[in-house]
């Protein structure tokens, strides 16, 4: 888990979708073992930032390094392999396939050349880790939303990636299930995984050591950088003077 050097380095990263600039002038470093919350209004570029960090899309401009690899130097194939070994994803909509829970989790290592028997072994262990050992034989459609998200987390961390990216993991859950999921993410962080969570929930953000605020595609606040914690809503010009 303790890779030398940062997991993610963004330098002047920018992402354009046609005429829309979803992300601009973004510098960001995530080191192993961090727990980071990304907040910001809808459309501010949070998901875009996450997909760039997760190598699901390449920046239109700027540099992105993942565990030291410059994205520009990697082909799509190699990028996929990098994702398989380094990054786990959790989404708001779970994205679980129909079928047995254990197989859904085992898919987490499908693209890493691990034999099926071994995948299922690890899957059972991972389900145990997320507190769903008793649901191994169930089908995914028999689970509650909170349980589904825990299964999705088990799948994401099956290969022990050093980085876990979660896009509104509690967004589709009631507050109790949301708390259970957050507790789980905190445990993973405690065990050494770097976790980046996008959230709209102020309470969740407040309980996380590092907070990054986005507005109109720019980082307007990063608690690891800024000495003063500025309230959300400060405009960009103000932020520049703060830096």
């Amino acid at each position: 888990m303790t890779a030398p050097g940062p997991l993610v380095e963004l330098a002047a990263a920018r992402k354009d979708y046609g005429t829309v600039t979803a992300l601009d002038a973004t510098d960001l470093t995530v080191v192993p073992g961090e727990l980071v919350a990304v907040v910001g209004p809808s459309g501010s570029g949070k998901s875009t930032l996450l997909t760039i960090m997760g190598t699901l899309s390449r920046p239109s401009r700027g540099t992105v390094r993942i565990v030291g690899h410059d994205l520009d130097s990697l082909t799509d194939r190699r990028l996929s392999a990098l994702r398989a070994t380094t990054i786990g994803f959790v989404f708001q909509q779970f994205h679980l396939p129909p079928g047995p829970v254990v197989d859904a989790v085992a898919d987490g290592l499908l693209y890493r050349g691990v034999a099926r028997r071994r995948r299922r072994e690890l899957a059972e262990r991972a389900l145990n880790r997320v507190g769903l050992a008793d649901r191994v034989g169930h089908h995914t459609h028999q689970l509650s939303g909170g349980q589904k998200q825990r299964v999705a987390i088990a799948r994401a961390v099956l290969g022990d990636p050093p980085l876990l990216l979660a896009d509104e993991p509690t967004g589709a859950l009631d507050s109790h299930s949301g708390n259970v999921v957050m507790e789980l993410l905190r445990e993973l962080h405690h065990d050494g995984t770097a976790v980046v969570i996008i959230t709209h929930n102020q309470d969740i953000a407040a309980a996380v050591p590092r907070r990054i605020a986005l507005r109109d595609g720019r980082i307007v606040h990063d608690s690891a950088v800024d000495v003063v914690d500025v309230a959300d809503g400060v405009d960009v010009a103000d932020m520049e003077t703060l830096r």
Binding site: T29, G54, R78, S80, P97, L110, P209
Partner: protein, 416 residues
């Protein structure tokens, strides 16, 4: 956290051991099949319907090939039983158009050709045959009355269905053997001492009924009487009208070449020599045109089935964008995704192909049983059906697979 720091630019980094570039792993064949199969299992109705298209196409092809192969096998077996070494010589028309005859000693002369094993003959008489003496003379039912030599059935390769053949004891008496069609037309079901037909203005006793003679179909509609009896009572001139010749298989062409001149030395060009087994095979081969048409139709059905599979797969790719995005997030390469959808298309069409082979074989067996043929489905046809299915599967799956593979992961995830 204490170790974080601003990263506006990449400053000097602590020296890291050089990292090798990450390499994707190849999916195991079992995993490819499982993932492809899982995609199909979740949509069973759609899968069955689009596999059915392929199945019908393959079934049509297999059935056409199978039925035609069964028919050919049946013909081969019949020809094996009948022998392909029978030649017939019949008088053609003279230059003036009148019916020609063969000289009375034609049989004896043909028998002198070296490789000839057996010779027999029939001679057409002018007589007519009726069910009884009250039928108007013009209603002769198309039955020809022939004088027949005693060795006719052995030479032609036919046998008696009922009763007995002519023999030296009765060939000079009013006894008749009927071809199967002639018997039916005359209403004779079985021969017997009291079964008589009105032939040449007198009563003839029916002593036998022939089995069908595939190599001499003219006998099926014939009434056959002894040679001496025909000469005596039916104004028969003694000229054979068809000479049947069995010759050594190896020399059959040589015999055919001299048969005309031997049977009728005076007018060799008037003799029509033919090999009935060839005619039989040719008649069967005439079905090939129909078979070609059916194969064409089957191919079109297969093609339409392929279009169905392609359609199913394209829809499947559209519906499963989120799944594709997720798989990319789990580390699937474009190749992995493409392979998954291609294997799905292949499974789908192989499923259809296997069903089609079963269906086509069943149809072949059913039809062959109905026709009393041996059922034959050539292994090459089954292999061909499977190969055609695979080709169709690849063609139908390629475009959807490429589409799935080149879907941007973010776009795929956003579609959910």
């Amino acid at each position: 956290m204490s170790r974080t720091r601003p990263a506006r630019a990449f400053g000097p980094r602590p020296v890291r051991r050089p990292r090798s570039q990450p390499r994707p792993t190849r999916m195991k064949a079992a995993d490819v099949l499982r993932v492809g199969g899982a995609g199909l299992r979740t949509r069973p109705t759609r899968v069955l319907l689009s596999a059915l298209g392929i199945a019908l196409g393959v079934a049509a092809l297999i059935a056409v090939v199978g039925v035609s192969a069964s028919g050919r096998e049946n013909l081969d077996r019949r020809l094996d039983a009948l022998g392909t070494n029978l030649l017939t010589a019949a008088p053609g028309k003279t230059a003036t158009g009148a019916a020609a005859g063969l000289p009375p000693d034609a049989v004896a002369m043909v028998a002198r050709i070296g490789p000839v094993e057996a010779v027999s003959a029939i001679g057409k008489t002018g007589a007519k045959v009726y069910r009884n003496d009250r039928i108007p003379p013009q209603e002769s039912g198309g039955i020809g009355v022939y004088a027949a030599r005693l060795d006719l059935p052995a030479t032609v390769g036919t046998s008696l269905a009922h009763g007995t053949w002519l023999n030296p004891a009765n060939e000079g008496y009013p006894a008749v053997v009927l071809g199967p069609v002639a018997a039916a037309r005359l209403g004779v079901r079985a021969p017997g001492p009291d079964v008589q037909v009105w032939l040449g203005r007198r009563w003839f006793t029916v002593i036998g009924i022939l089995a069908p003679a595939p190599l001499a179909a003219e006998l099926d509609t014939a009434a056959l009487v002894g040679w001496p009896e025909a000469r005596r009572d039916l104004d028969f001139d003694g000229n054979p009208t068809t000479v049947y010749t069995r010759a050594d298989n190896a020399s059959i062409a040589d015999v055919a070449a001299v048969l005309g001149a031997t049977a009728n030395p005076a007018n060799p060009n008037e003799v029509e020599v033919s090999r009935p087994s060839d005619a039989l095979a040719a008649r069967e081969a005439a079905d090939d045109a129909l078979n070609g048409l059916l194969v064409g139709l089957g191919s079109v059905a297969l093609l339409v089935g392929g279009v169905g599979v392609a359609n199913t797969m394209v829809i499947s790719v559209l519906e499963r964008r989120a799944e594709i995005g997720l798989r990319r997030a789990l580390g699937a390469t474009r190749g992995h995704i493409g392979t998954q959808f291609l294997s799905e298309a292949l499974l789908l069409s192989v499923l259809g192909g296997a069903g089609g082979i079963l269906l086509g074989s069943a149809a072949t067996v059913g039809y062959s049983t109905y026709r009393h043929w041996p059922a034959v489905v050539p292994p090459w046809a089954m292999a061909g059906g499977l190969v055609a299915t695979l080709v169709v599967g690849v063609c139908a799956g390629l475009y959807p697979a490429l589409r799935a593979a080149h879907l941007a992961p973010t776009e795929a995830l956003a579609a959910a």
